[in-house]
């Protein structure tokens, strides 16, 4: 891989359901440490693209390269081990588990994935497995503290309000320590005040984790303020790309998505 190849790139990804082309040749690049926004009208293929990247649409063709590895050749569950993390548009997490357990599950990635050996170790309470459990527990406490989830740590995911659930999901993704995070509308379903806090939080997290973000968002002030660059999708293809200030002035984007009356001043 050439040294100047982008950290994450999507190359000519196509997906069709029968005669309907959902994605027709999407190309995009994300550099290490960037926050890249993805906007577009409903049905543009944003979430579908996320599903392709994270492995929930295995009929897709093309290439999705993360740090030189083609993700499309790996199973969905293998991708987190290669550094991919994602959130869902509709959060569920694990309804019958406590937030603490949800976060611990994300932290399993810190130990080698050998189910049979892990089971025997667990059944016998081996020293090694106890070590790992202690480590995971300590790390989970850290994550809980970082995202101020202390009051909810022992509550079941299904008992939480949607906004808190979103935060918990974000905590789980961070616990995975991914190198690339896909966030699917992190502001949907949460209160305005929480949305406003989300932008600074994302920027802080990027600093702390050194992670790269790809973000779908309909909240224009939020996405315009945090993104380094933005891709606009329409009808399963890339319509335009560039820094937020350019995208806001792009005729085609305004036509298809932002609408003529979009107030540029909001984001600046």
């Amino acid at each position: 891989m050439a040294a100047d190849a982008p950290f994450f790139s999507v190359r000519d990804v196509r997906l069709s359901f029968g005669a309907l082309n959902v994605l027709n040749g999407v190309d995009l690049d994300v550099n290490r440490g960037e926050i890249v926004g993805l906007i577009g009208p409903n049905g543009a293929g944003k979430t579908t693209l996320f599903d392709v990247i994270s492995g929930f649409r295995d009929q897709a063709r093309g290439h999705v390269l993360l740090d030189g590895v083609d993700l499309l050749e790996r199973k969905a569950w293998e991708r987190p081990w290669l550094g991919l993390g994602r959130t869902f548009q509709q959060v569920t997490l694990y309804p019958n588990l406590t937030i603490r357990d949800c976060i611990r599950l994300a932290l399993h990635r810190r130990a080698p994935d050998r189910p049979v050996r892990a089971m025997f170790a667990a059944v016998l309470r081996s020293w090694g497995s106890q070590q790992i459990e202690t480590e995971i527990a300590a790390k989970a406490d850290e994550v809980i503290e970082r995202l101020a989830l202390g009051d909810y740590a022992n509550k079941l995911a299904s008992d939480l309000s949607y906004g808190t659930l979103r935060m918990a999901e974000l905590a789980c993704v961070l616990a995975l320590e991914p190198s690339l995070v896909l966030l699917d509308e992190p502001s949907s379903g949460i209160a305005q005040r929480e949305t406003e806090a989300l932008g600074p939080l994302l920027l802080e997290l990027r600093e702390e984790l050194g992670a790269t973000f790809l973000l779908i968002e309909h909240d224009m002030p939020l996405i315009m303020s945090v993104s380094d660059r933005i891709y606009a999708l329409a009808n399963g293809g890339i319509l335009a790309s560039g820094p937020p200030s350019e995208i806001q002035r792009n005729e085609a984007v305004i036509e298809s998505y932002l609408g003529g009356t979009f107030d540029i001043e909001v984001a600046s």
Partner: protein, 705 residues
């Protein structure tokens, strides 16, 4: 008679049997279409209908013509001899009775579950199955009764092929009912309403179709169809509650061939299964392994299993139009809002009365007393009492170990397997073979039973990788049926079904008991360790959300198979002790019915709860033994009560009674009082709002007051 003639005759018998399967299938499809309920109790309802009919009809000559009205647990009761009436009267009474039963089931059991996940519906109908079979056994007797055909005796021949009147009549009745239903769905307003409801419940409701009426009608008619099927098959199959209810497997197979939508395909599917199984049973397979495996008595169960699992795995699109076989990802028994409110309300009122702290303190003390009492009972009673009690307690321990296997697979990993006893059976036969044929010593044989069960459990795990919810349950049911129906009757296995008790010697009861007890304790501790580990947590994750698990890097394949293997190993150990205790391993101990009972017991206590499951597994095994009386045989009251408890649990609090109680005594959190206060404030607010809206509606309504 020529070979061809012979097979044609075999095929004709198959057709008439298949017609009954088709009739069961049509009823199942009708109810599934209209209400989305997979009715595992369908054939059990048919059994009730058949019993009512044959008890009344004056042409029967039953060993037990009376109806037993028993007082549970006492062995006391009355025998009521129903009057003999002509065929038509008996038929009408049976149909009305079963139609009413269907309505009752819909009203009391299914309606409260209208919006429940499919898993809860499965448990509810499985519980109903258990309850009705138990009730039939108690009310109508447990003996195998031979009954005459409802059609006059006689045979018509066309060339070499003989049609008995029974076969002809069955075919004609079934065909008429199928065609009648098809026309009803096409033409009658209610038929169209059912189809509309099946397509989209919401749209149907908007169009003013009453879902309750549609459901009630389907349950009544579906149940009557089941009764007709039961009456038609009894002369062939014999009248027993266990045997007839088991025909559910064939009914589901027919429905599956019809994709749970098409009545025509269901009908054809039933006939096909009837003919193929009958011909396979009679076919001249080469002597030896081929004839053992493929022919004879075992053929129907084997073929059904292969058809069911094959269809579900291959998913041919001409059958499964518009049905998604993995639609259920919610496989956990979630707590319902009412359950949570009840828990909260009880704690709140205790707190108000100043009793909550007291309860929590008493509970801390009480749990130690309970544990101590249990330990003393388990250790002391078998030493001082006769071997009878040790035997009974050993059954209890075996029940507990079986329950552990259900908890791991269903409670933790969310795989609703209806075949736990099949694995227990495999463990028992493995023990017999290992001790008698290979001379394994006891510890090695126990271990071997566990290990030998693992490959079978993995085999059942393969469909679980593609199927969820109802359709996986269906695959496991076919598997559970094929255990005693095919595998355990293989001549090579039956010939080796004697366990050599080895070290346990002639005074075997207490040694077996204490060995089983220690194994149970070890397994319990091992599973508790597992629960609190990475692996246990991963199982929970797969139960709760498949997609979230995958984005967290959990491999569903390896972990699910691991859960199956673990569960199989535990069940195999339970089977090993069953073998040592009984010495003669018999396939009839591992019938589908017992598998279902084992699943239900765990649901009652709380399917994810280790200790609760172990306790109910123990109790449900011990109580029937203790209440059995020499005169009346096994009292079915525990089965009936267990079924009823499972239904109540799944409606009220699917999380189980144990979880409910445990949440009542959870440590007090000061935040709770705050939550109660705000909940009360909300209630007042909502009430006010409702009132305001109501006032507005009255004032604002056109032409209002």
């Amino acid at each position: 008679m020529s070979d061809l003639g012979f097979y044609l005759n075999v095929a004709v018998t198959g057709l008439s049997v298949g017609a009954v399967y088709a009739l069961f299938g049509i009823g199942i499809t009708l109810i599934y279409k209209a209400t989305r309920v997979p009715n595992f109790a369908h054939a059990a309802i048919g059994t009730v209908g058949a019993y009512v009919f044959f008890k009344l009809w004056d042409q029967t000559n039953l060993q037990e013509p009376w109806i037993n009205l028993r007082i549970p647990f006492t062995g006391l009761g009355w025998k009521v001899d129903p009057p003999g009436v002509p065929l038509v009267v008996a038929l009408v009474v049976a149909l009305v009775a079963v139609g009413a039963l269907g309505l009752l089931v819909e009203r009391v059991v299914m309606r409260p579950l209208a919006s429940a996940p499919t898993l809860n519906l499965i448990i509810a109908t499985v519980a109903l199955f258990s309850l009705l079979v138990g009730l039939s056994g108690d009310l109508f007797g447990q003996r195998f009764e031979a009954v005459p055909s409802v059609f006059p005796q006689g045979i018509r021949s066309i060339g070499e092929v003989n049609f008995s009147n029974d076969a002809l009549g069955t075919l004609v009745v079934t065909a008429v009912l199928a065609v009648g239903l098809a026309i009803f769905f096409k033409r009658a307003a209610l038929g169209v309403a059912i189809r509309a409801t099946a397509d989209s419940r919401e749209v149907a409701r908007l169009l003013g179709i009453s879902a309750d009426r549609v459901a009630g009608f389907s349950w009544a008619v579906g149940s009557m169809l089941a009764a007709v099927a039961g009456i038609l098959i009894s002369p062939n199959a014999g009248l027993t509650s266990f045997g007839l209810a088991n025909l559910i497997v064939f009914g589901f197979t027919a429905s599956l061939i019809g994709g749970f939508t098409s009545l025509v395909l269901t009908f054809a599917g039933g006939l096909l299964i009837g003919v193929v199984t009958n011909v396979a049973s009679a076919a001249p397979w080469p002597e030896g392994i081929a004839s053992d495996l493929l022919g004879g008595q075992g053929a129907p169960a084997l073929i059904t299993m292969l058809v069911v699992i094959g269809l579900l795995m291959a998913r041919p699109s001409f059958i499964f139009k518009g049905i998604r076989l993995d639609e259920d990802s919610g496989v956990s028994f979630a707590r319902t809002a009412t359950g949570i409110q009840q828990e909260d309300a009880i704690r709140r009122s205790l707190d108000r009365a100043g009793q909550l702290g007291l309860l929590l303190r008493d509970w801390q003390l009480g749990r130690w007393l309970l544990a101590g009492g249990a330990a003393i009972t388990l250790v002391v009673v078998p030493i001082i009492k006769t071997s009878y009690y040790s035997t009974v307690l050993t059954f209890g321990i075996i029940g507990s170990i079986t329950a552990l296997s259900v908890v791991v697979l269903t409670g933790w990993t969310g795989q609703i397997s209806l075949a736990p006893l099949t694995f227990v059976g495999i463990g028992a036969y493995a023990t017999a073979i290992a001790t008698s044929s290979w001379g394994f010593p006891v510890p090695l044989a126990v271990l071997f039973a566990g290990v030998a069960t693992v490959p079978f459990a993995l085999l059942l795990g393969i469909p679980a990788l593609r199927l969820r919810g109802f359709f996986f349950a269906l695959a496991t049911m076919a598997f559970a049926f094929a255990g005693p129906g095919w595998l355990f009757i293989q001549p090579s296995i039956v010939a080796r079904s004697q366990v050599d008790r080895g070290w346990f010697g002639t005074e075997f009861v207490q040694p077996i008991y204490f060995t089983a007890l220690s194994c149970a304790v070890l397994l319990f501790m091992a599973m508790r360790n597992l629960r609190d580990s990475r692996v246990g947590r991963t199982f929970f994750a797969l139960r709760d959300s498949h997609s979230t698990a995958q984005v967290m890097g959990i491999d569903p394949v390896r972990y699910k198979l691991l859960a199956f293997a673990t569960s199989g190993f535990i069940a195999g150990i339970a089977g090993s002790f069953t073998g040592f205790l009984n010495q003669d391993v018999e396939g009839s101990g591992f019938l589908l019915f017992f598998s279902l009972a084992a699943v239900l017991q765990t649901v009652v206590s709380g399917v994810g709860l280790l200790f609760g499951a172990v306790l109910t597994g123990f109790l449900f095994s011990v109580i029937p033994q203790l209440t059995a009386t020499p005169t009346s045989g096994v009292d079915q009251a525990p089965v009936i009560i267990g079924g009823w408890l499972a239904i109540v649990t799944i409606i009220q609090n699917p999380n189980g009674i144990g979880s409910f109680l445990l949440r009542l005594v959870r440590p007090f959190d000061p935040g709770e009082r705050v939550a109660w206060a705000s909940a009360e404030a909300d209630e007042v607010l909502v009430a006010d709002e409702d009132e305001a809206l109501f006032d507005e509606a009255l004032v604002g309504a056109p032409g209002g007051r």
